[in-house]
């Protein structure tokens, strides 16, 4: 896909954090050499999944320009957004890309009425006529299943998490964005309301042509709404492709572990075997070779020493030595 056509094109982006004291400084690559592209022609929902510390939030924050990358480029409609300094360009960018954060209770200042957020956003992006602002706010609130009656003059503590998250989505929609970056938007929301928020994202994509980067660890909802999924582990994308492929016929051993860890709500669901967890994150980050090698069932000697390359297998990209070897065998046998 040509990069001019892409809505968002992330190219070899890396973010390195230095942790520790003056003498025991360690460099941790929160995001390591990640590239991905979202098409401008067809809106899509791209899920970033992985455990905590896999770099999915850092990646999203770099797209939102909340974190400056160490190296690499992020092109939005063909323009590099990393160097933006002047206010006009910044406003244009923010009009198009809007965030939704994980914890609605932390998103809003507890001492500030909720409607003030909506009015501020509307004034920033929609001019100053009081009439059109009111209409715009009412229409976005209706879209998320709320009304101004419920919001006016209320403080965040007076609403439930689900309602607050809807206010957060409504606020993001005021600017009519083309891309929403939603970081774990439903993890704090109740079961009975969760599906309505998830369906809201789906209808935003289908009816309003909004592309969404959906960050989650809930693979069941990810399967339900997304078109593509990227599985992240310790800063790398280890598997990316159509959600029907990646989640149903997982290739990377880590994707398989994730899939097995899902708690299915069935009568016969109880599991018995135990799994291994990582104790200290820092150790996996500083590993040579594949970051998953310490916990992987099917590791090869090469996994411990050398970082696997990205291989194209069955409509997707996988970063695992298992498939590189297979590829080699295939080439050799066809000769």
């Amino acid at each position: 896909m040509s990069h001019d056509k892409a809505l968002l094109s992330i190219q070899n982006i890396t973010k390195i954090y230095s942790v520790g004291g003056l003498f025991s400084r360690e460099r941790i690559s929160a995001v390591a050499d990640v590239s991905l592209t979202m098409s401008a022609e067809e809106p899509e929902i791209l899920t970033l999944a992985g455990e905590s510390g896999s770099g999915k939030t850092t990646l999203a924050r770099m797209v939102l320009r909340l974190v400056e990358p160490t190296s690499g480029r992020i092109l939005y409609k063909g323009r590099n957004i990393i160097g933006i300094r002047n206010r006009k360009e910044q406003m244009e960018f923010m009009q198009d890309i809007q965030p939704i954060f994980q914890n609605p209770f932390e998103t809003f200042n507890p001492l500030k009425e909720l409607d003030r957020y909506l009015f501020e956003t509307a004034r920033n992006y929609r001019g100053r006529e009081e009439q059109s602002i009111d209409q715009r706010i009412e229409s976005v609130l209706n879209l998320v299943g709320l009304s101004m009656e419920e919001i006016r003059g209320r403080y965040p503590h007076e609403l439930s998490g689900g309602q607050l998250q809807r206010v957060s989505v409504a606020r993001a929609l005021i600017a009519s964005p083309l891309l929403l970056v939603a970081d774990e938007p439903v993890s704090m929301i109740d079961a009975s309301l969760r599906m309505s928020v998830v369906n809201l994202f789906k209808s935003l994509k289908d009816e309003h042509k909004v592309s969404i980067i959906y960050i989650t660890h809930d693979l069941a909802t990810a399967y339900y709404i997304s078109d593509r999924i990227a599985i992240m582990l310790r800063g790398h994308i280890v598997e990316i492709g159509p959600v029907r492929k990646v989640l149903v016929e997982a290739l990377h051993p880590y994707t398989r572990l994730l899939k097995e860890s899902i708690l299915q709500p069935h009568a016969e669901a109880s599991w018995d075997e135990e799994i291994t967890l990582s104790t200290m994150e820092a150790r996996e980050f500083t590993r040579l070779g594949c970051k998953f090698a310490g916990r992987c069932d099917s590791r090869l000697p090469i996994c411990e020493v050398s970082d696997p390359p990205i291989t194209h297998v069955d409509e997707r990209e996988v970063k695992c030595w298992l498939y590189v070897e297979q590829e080699k065998h295939r080439v050799v046998s066809s000769l």
Binding site: L257, E274, M280
Partner: protein, 332 residues
Amino acid sequence: MNVLRIENIQAYYQSTLYGIARNVRAVDGVSLDLHADEIYGIAGESSCGKTTLIKVMFGAVEPPLTIVGGKVLYQLDGNHIDVTQADAETLRQLRWKQVSYILQGSMSLLNPVRKIRKTFWDFTKAHEPTIESAKFEATTRGHLDRLGLPAEVLDSYPHQLSGGMKQRVAIALATIFQPKVILADEPTTALDVVVQRGVLQLLRRIQQETKNTLVIVTHDMGIHANIAHRVGIMYAGRLVEEGRVREIFGEPLHPYTRHLIQSLPAIGDKSERQGIPGAPPNLADPPPGCRFHPRCPYAKPICSIEAPQLTTIADGRRIACFLAAKENANVS
């Protein structure tokens, strides 16, 4: 054998503003029995009163939360303690040693500037002032070892551990006195799937080893299906259905339970799922009759007038719904 009997407990958040009294009926007439050696799951969405119920069970009742009526009766080692009547000293003896409480964000209770060992030491010392450091070291290491956690965490600071590890350390801390009852309020919410499974694995291991009672409160039906023995479903401050886990998931009877289970998406199935229409009621002004009737697709005229009682329809199966109770009466 019963460990805890809750009788018709009513706990309201009471406040007065400009002379107008306001009662938020967070828990409104819940009765349930907890047995020894079981995992009891309480399911329901936030603001359905499940956290308040746990607070009442732990005796952590502070204004504006007030117990209006009912009893919370622990039966531990032949002693009967009613938490709603107990004085501060009795509660202090009961807490952590007999009954422990794991909060949602318990990983953030670890002091960031003290090593884990110091945190364990402070906690143990507060409850057993006479303990010597050699004995403390041995019990702590033994406890971590039984839970499958490496002893090296004791020499770490909290920031050096991963989120899931911190949560597991916090659980180890809460269970160091081998309590008879463990109350876990959303112990894995906001953790990711792999870590969530690790934490649940740990809770289940503790329960299996000490044969105690684990009460697990979460809105995640997947967790209940996987580890609970019995499940109680709460809606708007009341228990609406209770039964063994297989019965609840195999044949949910209450329309709310049915909706809760069927609305969950599954991998390999992209068919349309609907959330429950409407929103949970405001507990300061709950709807009359059955509190679910405004959102219920099968609501009958009687549902908006009279509140259905929680009735036993089969062994270990209770339900508060006119529809399900009638169906059942017809069958028998």
